[in-house]
């Protein structure tokens, strides 16, 4: 929760904007005074839900993280406080740091691939003829719409050791050692498949939205650029990119969150195996906590996982904080 205090508001932003005038002028005074409570009332259900359904479990999780909670304690409903033991043990364990590093690399790789491929495909969509664009859009939407659990089983089948179509193709392409290759047998091959899966599922969101965003760029901007003698590349960097920047930021933020939390894909594809080598933080917390029945320890890892995710996204949240000052 550190991100919220990064920068004190530079001034009474809300008030400053109020006398903006123009067509967006304030509504009549009487109405606005009566509606002073309005926004809070409108937000009340959302806030109540968040506090009750997210805040409470979160608090409970923090409390559990200070307990020695294993099979016996859970069964007997016993509460055994053990201070910061769980944190001490987690933070001093080599495994935890290895998993953290792995999670960050995993997230970075996937998000980079998703954003680059997504952006390229989005720009490609803009260049395509109508019919071709529609075809590709349908393809993207189908990949996008595949539910995770179903998609993961499909990938297990595509990459199955025996009768998997990927191995067959590789064999036919002359890579005979792959004919009976077990994709779940090593860390890198498992990550490879999981990455293909995640990129495949995530690129459509970026591509389709980026394409839609480019269609909203006013043509005059390009015309002006070409009058200034800008080439294709120049007008891309001078017009397209700046226009898309807020979109790219927002999408990257979402992808970071989604990939970092890619729990189902990793757990269902190879259970974090082989040899626990593909566990990312949420899976690690799950396996330690629920799988190995060290619930208190799992809770501590969960808290740390949340803190790490906050750290990863702090930069973006700070931008939003700043941006919001200028809005409205």
């Amino acid at each position: 929760m550190t991100v919220q205090t990064e920068r004190p508001p530079s001034g009474p932003a809300d008030v400053r904007k109020a006398d903006d005038g123009g067509p967006g002028a304030p509504t009549p005074r009487a109405a606005s005074r009566a509606g002073a409570l309005g926004p809070y009332l409108l937000l009340l259900p959302a806030c109540a839900a968040t506090v009750l359904l997210l805040g409470w479990p979160l608090l409970k999780d923090v409390l559990l993280s200070f307990q020695n909670l294993n099979m016996a304690q859970l069964i007997q409903h016993a509460t055994e406080w053990n201070g910061v033991d769980n944190y001490k043990e987690t933070l001093t364990s080599e495994d935890f740091w290895r998993v953290t590093l792995r999670s960050i690399l995993f997230t970075a790789t996937n998000v980079a691939l998703i954003m680059i491929l997504g952006a390229l495909i989005g720009l490609l969509l803009a260049r395509l003829g109508k019919r071709m664009r529609f075809t590709l859009l349908i393809g993207l939407v189908l990949a996008w719409a595949m539910p995770i659990v179903a998609a993961t089983t499909v990938y297990q089948w595509l990459f199955a050791q025996r009768f998997g179509v990927v191995n067959w193709v590789l064999d036919r392409l002359g890579w005979h050692s792959m004919a009976d290759y077990s994709w779940t047998s090593s860390q890198m091959s498992t990550f490879f498949v999981v990455t293909v899966l995640i990129v495949w599922m995530s690129v459509p969101f970026v591509a389709i939205n980026l394409y839609a965003a480019t269609t909203t760029i006013p043509n005059e901007l390009y015309e002006a650029a070409s009058l200034d003698g800008a080439g294709a590349w120049r007008s891309f960097t001078a017009v397209t990119l700046p226009f898309l920047r807020p979109f790219l930021y927002a999408t990257t933020f979402l992808e970071v969150i989604w990939v970092f939390k890619a729990f189902a894909q990793v757990l269902l594809f190879n259970q974090g195996g082989p040899d626990r080598l593909t566990e990312i933080l949420p899976v690690y917390a799950y396996v330690e906590g629920i799988g190995n029945q060290h619930y208190g320890m799992g809770a501590a890892i969960a808290v740390l996982t949340i803190l790490i995710l906050l750290g990863l996204t702090a930069h973006y949240l700070r931008i939003v904080l700043k941006q919001e000052e200028d809005e409205l």
């Binding site: 294993n70 099979m71 077990s182 082989p274 190995n292």
Partner: protein
């Protein structure tokens, strides 16, 4: 269909209970009233495939006749069962009776989640086979009742063996190896399907060598994988696995080895007798080709060591129907039903007097000689943590099969293994 029927009976039972007493079925407290236990329903968790539908049906009928109460069987998957059982035992309405793996029993006994069954043992347990009852006893108390046991045999394809010119089944480990070699040389079949992580077979080999997977170091248990006896077992495993094309990083259930065998192009595999059923389901043609023999040991006079897998029945300490649950156990473990289970499933019953039920059952007859030299994983509460995925013993096997020396592999997983053994309970 039958399962549905049982469930339907259970539901009907609950409806009936509401109608009869106008209260929830817990308020009888499990005590027999004037009308017996009428209106109550006992929930029993059994593992998928461990008891035939026929057995469940007959038992439910007999139980109802005796107590007037219903029984509802719920079939569970092995995968993730520990987590499910632990949380269930912490809940208000745990399953009243449940099947629990013999190696997992000590850990649960320690949690206080299992009811003390001393009186049951006194009443019906006098002639339980002592070695089979060991896992149910923790710190001198009886926390479960032995139910059924089983061990692995060799299932072989008679046609493939005949094609290779083999007439007899092997009696020693070397003969076994030579026979498989011959299949490899003379036919295009895979001599044996042995995935790298059939760790129960490996445990059997360790038992055969007289070794132990863990040793005591002061007051805690630590890895004993670098013991020469364990190393010898690993070498044996590796030698046979080299004859197989099976994946080195998978266990016998992914894919089901029975299904692989069903294709008819595999000479043999090491599995439970009932795995033949999987093969027959996948390919009915294979039924007439399946033969069984005891896993040959180093010498002809002593079969190979086997892991004596099995299950106990336990009563949840939190169950509100303790008496009814014990009534159920008395019936389920009676000679009639224990014998029927042995006969139908070809499993080893909890007392020797019932072993006659195995006659004429080829896989069970092949299994029985080895049961005498069988053993289990260490019966300590700490062991349960070891079996949680990813099981370090499986990791160890894969490492050895992928070329690491047993010593190196032992070193590689020692940390994880020891960590699990010393995990807080």
């Amino acid at each position: 269909m039958k399962r549905k029927l049982v469930a339907a009976i259970g539901v009907a039972g609950m409806l009936f209970s509401v109608a009869a007493c106008g209260g929830d079925d817990g308020d009888g407290g499990g005590k027999a009233g004037a009308d017996g236990y009428a209106g109550q329903t006992l929930t029993v968790w059994v593992m998928d495939g461990s008891s035939p539908d026929q057995w469940q049906k007959d038992l439910a009928a007999a139980f109802e006749a005796k107590t007037k109460a219903k029984v509802k069987f719920e079939n569970q998957q092995w995968n993730g069962i520990q987590q499910k059982l632990t949380t269930a035992l912490s809940e208000e309405n745990p399953p009243d009776v449940f099947e629990i793996g013999n190696t997992q029993t000590p850990a649960y006994a320690k949690t206080g989640g299992l009811a003390d069954l001393a009186d049951l043992k006194a009443e019906i347990g006098a002639d339980w086979t002592e070695s089979l009852n060991q896992s149910s006893i923790y710190e001198g108390k009886q926390y479960a009742a032995p139910w059924y046991f089983a061990n692995r045999v060799v299932l072989y394809n008679k046609k493939v063996w005949a094609d290779a010119g083999l007439k007899d089944t092997p009696k020693t480990r070397d003969e076994f190896y030579d026979a498989l070699k011959t299949i490899g040389d003379k036919t295009d079949a895979e001599p044996i399907y042995l995935p790298g992580q059939n760790w129960y077979h490996f445990v059997g080999l360790v038992i055969g060598e007289g070794g132990e997977l863990v040793k005591k170091d002061g007051d805690k248990y630590v890895s004993n994988l670098d013991d020469p006896k364990v190393v010898a077992a690993a070498e044996t495993y590796k030698k046979f696995q080299a004859l197989s094309k099976a994946p080195k990083d998978k266990d016998e259930a992914t894919p089901q080895q029975g299904e692989v065998f069903a294709k008819g192009n595999v000479g043999a595999f090491i599995g439970m007798g009932w795995e033949a059923g999987i093969a027959i389901k996948a390919n009915p043609e294979i039924e007439k080709e399946i033969g069984y023999f005891t896993i040959p040991g180093e010498t002809a006079d002593k079969p190979e060591g086997v892991f004596l897998g099995g299950s106990n029945l336990a009563v949840a300490a939190g169950s509100k129907k303790q008496d009814l649950a014990k009534e159920f156990l008395k019936l389920a473990l009676s000679d009639k039903f224990e014998g029927q289970l042995a006969k139908l499933n070809g499993v080893i019953p909890n007392k020797e007097s019932l072993q006659s039920n195995l006659e004429g059952n080829a896989p069970a007859e092949a299994a029985a000689p080895a049961a005498a030299v069988g053993g289990t994983t260490p019966l300590i509460p700490e062991w349960a943590a070891v079996e949680n995925a990813p099981n370090p013993i499986k990791t160890y096997l894969t490492a050895v099969l992928n070329g690491k020396s047993p010593a190196e592999a032992a070193k590689q997983i020692e940390g994880e293994f020891n960590k699990r053994l010393e995990q807080q309970q």
